[in-house]
Amino acid sequence: MIEIKDLHKSYKMGSNSLHVLKGINFKVEEGELVAIMGSSGSGKSTLLNILGMLDGADSGEYTLDGVPIKNLSETKAAQYRNKFLGFIFQSFNLINYKSALENVALPLYYQKVPRKERQEKAMQYLERVGLKPWAGHLPSELSGGQKQRVAIARAMAAEPKVLLADEPTGALDSKTSYEVMDLIQKINDDGNTILVVTHEEDIAHMCKRIVHLKDGVIVEDKKVEQVRAGQYV
């Protein structure tokens, strides 16, 4: 599903150049649930940004579902993001003046799905994350866990190939974190490919595979016995 070869990325910091990713080789199969771990500055967020086409690599190859991702125009990148990727952010990033339903429907709007169909589909996904009764609520009327579940529903609404989650539990207490992870595991059980960036050990162990990043290189890549979050909920 995802294949990257010898990926390099550096940032200019004034006159200095900061080499963040120093040759990453990495493969993700369909249906995997991968945790990307590392301390801050290890390059895990940069990697996720490149995978999410929010940023470009300096060198190296990136293939997503058989499509080479290279030299994309803004418009093309937007189309690919919409078609291939769903984002889940640490700070949820819901649009605060739109109801939960409208937030979920937004990616479908950019896919030019007709309004009615959009709303029906969005409602289905809200139901899946257990928030159907909150469809008409604004984000400000929802708890943190609910917000993240709306964000997950939004990420899934466009039926992307890969879900990218950047510290999805970073802003939540541990109980809510496990609820969110439970949801992510269930989505993965349905066959969706998910990448989770985290620095929390327990969250990482709820995935099926852990990739450790340190100073811009992968230092460890191992399959783990998945801890089901459901038992803590």
Partner: protein
């Protein structure tokens, strides 16, 4: 474009920033208001000027004799020129295709008496054509006709004021009134839009007065109108030809300014129209500059809005919004604020003009109003202004990098 989501977003930003939106919109509305009012004022001035001259046919020329100031053709300077009856015929035959109406004028004063009432009035003895040249409005009876001139009939067309002064409540038509002791029959009453003084005038057949004053052929002036289809340059060219002809006939030096006066209304109109054109230009210029200030204000507010919504725009881009869609959103919002506030300004100006305009009727300023074309132009300007105001901020928004917008730091 007419998408519910887009409008929802626009209304939301406007709603959350009511005061800011109002203040910005106000600057544009105000600018359009001033622009329309300025144009209306210029229009009012033009109406006023035109109204002043409309009293007479605007295609008229007056020929008046003077005293020569240069020796020419064997004559010494200081010769008095005297126009005669046959000059009329001569002009008519010289310019058969140019002349529309032509009439002589013979000036006299009359002490008029009817029963116990007396008054002193000026008399213009004319030909029938004079009615068309002076645009005399006969409200009762008739004007002088050809038969009156041929018969040297003692008939008079009197002004409304004259009728009021002399006849009080009596019906003047058909009554005899004495001018300097001679009885004239009143055949008509006229009004004049120009002013009250014109209504204290009396018209009589030119031949009648020439006989009274010693059976003369003399006339004091010639009034004529030319082909109304002439444009300004043709009109001026014609009056030049007329002046050359008359100066040659009376052996006046072509350079002599005092020997003969040919006064063409078109010249005055030329001056007025270039004057109002300049005023209009100034009006548009000033209004436009104020509008520019308004546009900058809108642009400023859009920059702010985008700054506040950077994160949201980043999220949208992450969800698959294309740059075009972001640009459209910002442009539409900008055009919307500009257009709505502009229309409010336009409507206000229009309402004020509709309410007050027709009441303003002074000689130099009357009925300020705006035409449909001004409204249409203003609308187009508004939409262009909205696009201009939104363009830079929109491009800025489209260039927002999602990762920068989404970084939580």
């Amino acid at each position: 474009m007419f998408d519910r989501d887009v409008w929802q977003e626009i209304f939301n930003t406007l709603k959350t920033n009511k005061l800011r939106t109002f203040l910005t919109g106000f600057s544009v509305g105000w600018a359009i208001f001033i622009l329309v009012m300025l144009l209306a004022s210029v229009n009012g001035m033009q109406n006023g000027f035109v109204g002043q001259f409309n009293d007479d046919a605007t295609n008229s020329i007056f020929v008046r004799p003077g005293t020569t100031s240069k020796a020419y053709g064997g004559f010494e300077a200081g010769r008095r020129i005297q126009l005669k009856n046959d000059d009329l015929e001569y002009i008519k035959q010289s310019f058969p295709n140019d002349i529309e109406y032509i009439s002589a004028r013979y000036y006299a004063n009359a002490t008029a008496r009817y029963k116990a009432e007396t008054g002193s009035y000026s008399v213009q003895a004319t030909h029938p054509d004079h009615q068309a040249i002076e645009k005399t409005l006969v409200i009762a009876g008739r004007y002088i006709n050809e038969a009156d001139v041929v018969n040297k009939a003692k008939v008079a067309v009197i002004g409304r004021k004259v009728a009021e002064d002399l006849f009080k409540d009596e019906e003047p038509l058909g009554k005899f009134v004495e001018f300097n002791g001679l009885p004239f029959r009143v055949i008509g009453i006229f009004t004049d839009d120009g002013d009250d003084n014109a209504e204290r005038r009396i018209y009589a057949p030119v031949s009648t007065y020439q006989r009274i004053y010693g059976n003369t052929n003399d006339i004091n002036a010639i009034a004529l109108t030319y082909n109304p289809n002439y444009d300004l340059s043709e009109a001026l060219e014609f009056s030049e030809r007329l002046e050359i002809l008359m100066k040659r006939r009376y052996k006046i030096s072509p350079e002599d300014q005092a020997g003969l006066y040919v006064w063409n209304y078109a010249e005055a109109f030329d001056n007025i129209s270039s004057f109002t054109a300049v005023l209009k230009g100034i009006g548009i210029g000033v209004g436009f500059l104020i509008l520019v200030a308004g546009i900058v204000g809108i642009g400023n507010i859009m920059v702010f809005t985008i700054k506040e919504r950077t994160k949201e725009i980043g999220v949208r881009k992450a969800l698959g919004a294309r740059p075009r869609q972001i640009i459209n959103l910002v442009l539409l919002e900008s055009v919307f604020i500009t257009a709505i506030s502009g229309f409010v300004g336009l409507a206000f100006a229009w309402m004020i003009l509709a309410a007050v305009g027709p009441a303003i009727q002074t000689p130099a300023f009357s009925n300020p109003s705006v035409s449909l074309s001004v409204v249409v132009t203003a609308t187009i300007i508004l939409i262009i202004a909205g696009v201009l105001a939104g363009l830079l901020p929109a491009m800025k928004a489209a260039n927002v990098k999602p990762i920068v917008a989404l970084s939580d730091k």
